[in-house]
Amino acid sequence: MKIDHSLPLEYSTEENRLKIFGFWIFLGAEIMLFATLFTSYFVYEHRSGNGPSGAEIFELSPVLMETILLLASSFTIGLGIHAMRLGKQKAMMAFFAVTLVLGLGFLGFEIFEFTTYIHEGAGITTSGFTSMLLTTLGTHGLHVTFGFFWGLAILLQVKKRGLTPETANKSFIFSLYWHFLDVVWIFIFSFIYLKGMM
């Protein structure tokens, strides 16, 4: 394995460069996935049948909490990658851990939000609108859940193996993924919650 020391660790081998490039393309596919979900959401936005509409069930406070937690986690993982570039493994691990805890907090609030919806009679089988709402939010939530376990696995590897081209590469790709989920959330926040509450 040829290591090019003029580049950051995560870019230092050919394999690493390929993986980062490939992951960007994967994110392209993810953009299409969420674009499809958003488009469909706009179709169902007012198709609430006998169920409640968005304005009736959306509440600002849990959503704001989720937004703050996820934005903060995006910031901390950025710090984590910065620390990784400086070679500070401890700091990097700490920032990653904070990121994951914030992600977990986000999930907690989201679960709370979903239970409220179901209690208010907005379950996944209620209407086209609620099916689509919960599917869109759920897809994002599943991504975060998956990201949590993925991040955990990477954290363990960094702890065990230190900062190698391989672990640095994984951490960097994971950070791309996490930032992407944050961007998606901003769209969810603006076009589902804010638009729905207005």
Partner: protein
Amino acid sequence: MKLKWTLLAMIFTVAAVLSGCEPLLVLDPKGPQAKVQADDIMLSIWIMSGIVIVVFAILVFVLVKYRASKQSADYEPPHIEGNMFVEAICIGVPIIIVIFLSVMSVKSNYEVEATPKGYEGQEPLVIYASSSDWKWHFSYPEEGIETVNYVNIPAGRPLEFKLYSYGPITSFWIPQLGGQKYAMGDMVTTLHLAADEPGELMGRNANFSGAGFAENTFDVEAMSQTDFDKWVKEVQDTAKPLTEEKFNELLKPGHLGRSTYTGTHLEFSPAPEHHHDSADSDKVSEGEHHHESSDSGKEADHSHHH
């Protein structure tokens, strides 16, 4: 025009002989809309034949002229990158053809989506055609009658079919009067047709809708306005009324013969309304609201979905 049809007959001679010397349904229009479509089809067949002939001719030419067996063993084909002029022609000519066809297509679009040409001044007859597995229900709100699996229409008068479905998506099609349109559970679509002269025609659901799809047909009879009025009067006098109970029985999956009723199901089971713009109208469509059928007909007129 005459020449066109004669030439067409030549092209499809074999077909016509095989299919019992009858002209092909779609190319034997009995109404203005089907005529527009048949003309479009014939025009495009001619233009496309021209293209096909050009391509075939070039192909045969190069294959005959440049086959290896006709050339000396030491012939070395040249390296040619391409030629701006030739490529401009290859792009330019198709673009001109496409522009021409686009104009044709757009013009016809607006024709088939409006009251048929030559019938503009007249008040159209509104018929609600709804499908259920695997039948067609025709409601005449103004006449207050309803038929199953057959529809009688006055010739020489514009028709507005309001289409919707009690089941899977179906497609309402009377080939000799004009092309299809979908009937769906969620909205009403409108098909503008007219029959030029009296006669019996074939109608069917063209969109696959499950096990009974093949037999999902209906009879169409175009008759003079006097005969039509006579038939309506007769139905109003003799047919049994359509009750909600009876209608629900009719909706059950299966095949039925023809039947006739007074009153329409629109009175107790109105057509779906278009509800794309506001959440409130959703609830209206759930059946709490009863419309005058002629009213809802006007509203459904605006139901362009996208």
